[in-house]
C-alpha cells in the first residue's frame, strides 16, 4: 500500500480532517458511513482522498447498515471503519454488539454531540456510557478518549492495530469540539515512527478448496443453550481481562502530594491540566488524573494515585451528568476518598470552571 506521507510533516487542521488522514495513513481500506454532525468532515475528507489512494467508501442507508457493512468487510479481511455521533452511535450499538459477540476488529470514531435524543450537534461527553457499555453485552470494547488532534491521529493508527491484534471492537472517542477545532499536529506514516501496522486477515472467504485443503468456516453468534452462551461470554471475559493491563493508558500530573485530584477525560482534561498549572502557581496542592482508555479503565493506576498522594478529595469534571463519575465510582470501589463533581452536560469546561470549583472545595 502506498505510503501516505513520505516524511513526517506538521499540519494545521480540524480534528475531523485529522481522523480521515489518520485512517489513510493507518492503511484503512474502506469506510462505511452515514451523515451526522459533528463527524461529517471525516467522510468529506475520506471521500476526497480515498480514490487517490485506491481506498473504498460507501454511504449507507443508515448507521445500522454502516455498522453491519463494516462487520461484513472486516469478516472478509479488510481494514474497515466507520464514524458517527449521538443518535447514530445509538443505532450502531447493534452492529457493535455483533462485533463484540463475534470478536470482529471493527474501528469506530465517535465525535460526541449533545444528548439525550437529537440534543445538540455541537459537543458533549455524554456518549461515555453508550460507547463503553452500550449494547446487550458486557462492554467488551476498547475505548480511547482523545484530547488533542495529535492524539486523534496517533490513536486512530494505534486503534487499528489494537482492533486487529486483540479483535475487540475499538473506539476513538472524540467530541464535537475536537472535531471542529483547528490546531497543529504532526502527520506521519506509521512505519517512519517504527510502528508496524498489523496486517488484516479474512475470517471467511479463506483460500483453499473446501473438503480438500480445509473445512468450511461457519461463524456463529447465536446459541441454543444457556450453557453454550455462558462458555462463550466467560471465554471472552477472561481474554478481555487478561489483555486489559497491557491496554490501559492514562496520564497523571502533580499527583504525588496532591490534596485534590481532578479526574477528567478527553478534551476536558486539557482544562484540568491548565487548572493544575494555575492552582499550583497559587500554591495549591492540586493534581490531575486522566484515563485515556475508558475501557479497560486504569482503575489500579487511579487507586495508586489516590493512595500515594493521600488525596483528601477527588473532583470529577465532565461535560455530562455523571457518566464518567459512575465509571470512576465503580472502578475504584473500596476507596473512601470523598468525591465532588463538576457536571456540565453538553457544555464546554474551561480551566476557570475547574479552578472555581476547586476553590469552593477547599
Amino acid at each position: 500500500m502506498e505510503k501516505v506521507f513520505s516524511e513526517a510533516k506538521k499540519a494545521f487542521m480540524t480534528g475531523n480532517e485529522t481522523a480521515a488522514w489518520a485512517a489513510l495513513a493507518a492503511g484503512a481500506e474502506v469506510m462505511f458511513g452515514y451523515p451526522i454532525t459533528p463527524q461529517n468532515e471525516i467522510m468529506h475528507y475520506w471521500t476526497r482522498m480515498a480514490p487517490k489512494y485506491d481506498r473504498g467508501f460507501l454511504q449507507t442507508e443508515d448507521e445500522i447498515s454502516a455498522g453491519f457493512t463494516v462487520c461484513g468487510s472486516v469478516q472478509s479481511g479488510k481494514k474497515a471503519f466507520t464514524a458517527t455521533a449521538g443518535p447514530g452511535n445509538v443505532l450502531m450499538q447493534e452492529p457493535f454488539g455483533m462485533a463484540e459477540g463475534m470478536r470482529l476488529p471493527l474501528l469506530a470514531i465517535i465525535q460526541q454531540r449533545g444528548g439525550p435524543s437529537s440534543g445538540t450537534v455541537v459537543y458533549s461527553q455524554q456518549e461515555v456510557t453508550l460507547t463503553t457499555f452500550g449494547g446487550n453485552g458486557e462492554g467488551h470494547r476498547i475505548v480511547y478518549s482523545t484530547a488533542t488532534h495529535q492524539e486523534i491521529y496517533d490513536y486512530i493508527i494505534k486503534g487499528f492495530n489494537t482492533a486487529w491484534t486483540y479483535r475487540f471492537p475499538t473506539f476513538i472517542l472524540g467530541d464535537g469540539y475536537q472535531a471542529k477545532m483547528r490546531e497543529p499536529l504532526e502527520l506521519y506514516s506509521p512505519e517512519d515512527k517504527g510502528i508496524k501496522m498489523v496486517e488484516p486477515y479474512p475470517l471467511i472467504g479463506l483460500p483453499g478448496h473446501i473438503g480438500e485443503d480445509r473445512e468450511p468456516k461457519h461463524l456463529c453468534n447465536i446459541y441454543s443453550l444457556e450453557e453454550e452462551l455462558y462458555e462463550v461470554v466467560m471465554k471472552i471475559s477472561a481474554e478481555y481481562e487478561a489483555i486489559s493491563p497491557e491496554l490501559t493508558e492514562y496520564q497523571e500530573r502533580e499527583c504525588d502530594d496532591a490534596e485534590i485530584i481532578i479526574v477528567s477525560h478527553g478534551v476536558v482534561s486539557r482544562a484540568a491540566d491548565d487548572a493544575v498549572t494555575a492552582l499550583r502557581a497559587q500554591g495549591l496542592k492540586v493534581g490531575c488524573f486522566r484515563p485515556i482508555t475508558l475501557r479497560p479503565f486504569p482503575a489500579q493506576e487511579l487507586k495508586n494515585c489516590i493512595q500515594k498522594s493521600g488525596a483528601k478529595k477527588l473532583l470529577i469534571a465532565e461535560s455530562a451528568y455523571g457518566q464518567l463519575f459512575r465509571l470512576v465510582r465503580q472502578e475504584i470501589y473500596g476507596e473512601t476518598v470523598p468525591m465532588e463533581t463538576l457536571f456540565m452536560p453538553g457544555v464546554g469546561i474551561i480551566d476557570y470552571d475547574i479552578m472555581s470549583k476547586i476553590k469552593s472545595m477547599l
Binding site: 487542521m13 480532517e17 455541537v122 469540539y177
Partner: protein, 221 residues
Amino acid sequence: MEGERVLEAYVGEYASGKSEISINRALELLGQGRTVTLVDLDTVEPFYTLRSLKPQLEGMGLQLISFSREDAFGLGETGAMLNPQARWALRRSGDIILDIGYGVYGARTLNLVEGANESKELKVLAVINYSRPLTGNRERIREYILDLGRVDAIVANTHLGDETTIDIIEDGNAEIMHVARELNIPVDFITVDEKLQGSIGVEVSGIPVKFIHRFMPAAMW
C-alpha cells in the same frame, strides 16, 4: 460610492483561515471610515463560524449578515441554511466582504448571491495555507485552485497555529507564490499573525504582508 466600493469574496479549504481573513479585512476597511458588511456564507454548520462573534463584531461597527444563536434555536444541524439577507447582500451599499464556506462546490457557492456572477466589482480571493495537506505541495495547490472555479487573486496564509515559525511561513508561501506565477494569478497579500509583527518584513517579494488578529479561537470555546 459606485465604483469605489470593495466587493471581495474569500474562499478556501476548511480551516484555511478564510473567516479570520474576512473579519480582519472587514475591520481594516471599517478602520478607514468605510461602511462594511461582512457576510457569512458558510453553508456548512454556520454556528461554528461567525455566529458566536456576532455581538463583538457588531459592537465594533460592522454590519454582519449571519445567524445569531436565537435565530437558530431548535434548528439542530442547520448545515444548508442560507440567510435570506445573504442572497441579496450585493444590493447593499458600501463595502461587502463575503466569507465563503468550504465544500466541493468551491467558489460556486457565489451562485447563491444574486448578481455575483454579473458583478464587475467583485473579486474572488482564494485563501491558501501551505500547512494543510490538501494544499501542502505545488501539485495539490494547483489542483485545488483550478477546482475552485473562479479565482481572481490568492491570499497566502501559511501558518501552524501556535507553532508557527517564520521559516514555516516563508517556505510555504514561496511554494504558493510559485504556483500562483504558473497559473498567472496574482498573490494580493500575505497574512501573518499579529504576534509575529516585527519578525517578518511588511513586504515579501513585493507582496504586502497584513498582520491579522485571530478571532476564531474565541469562536470555538
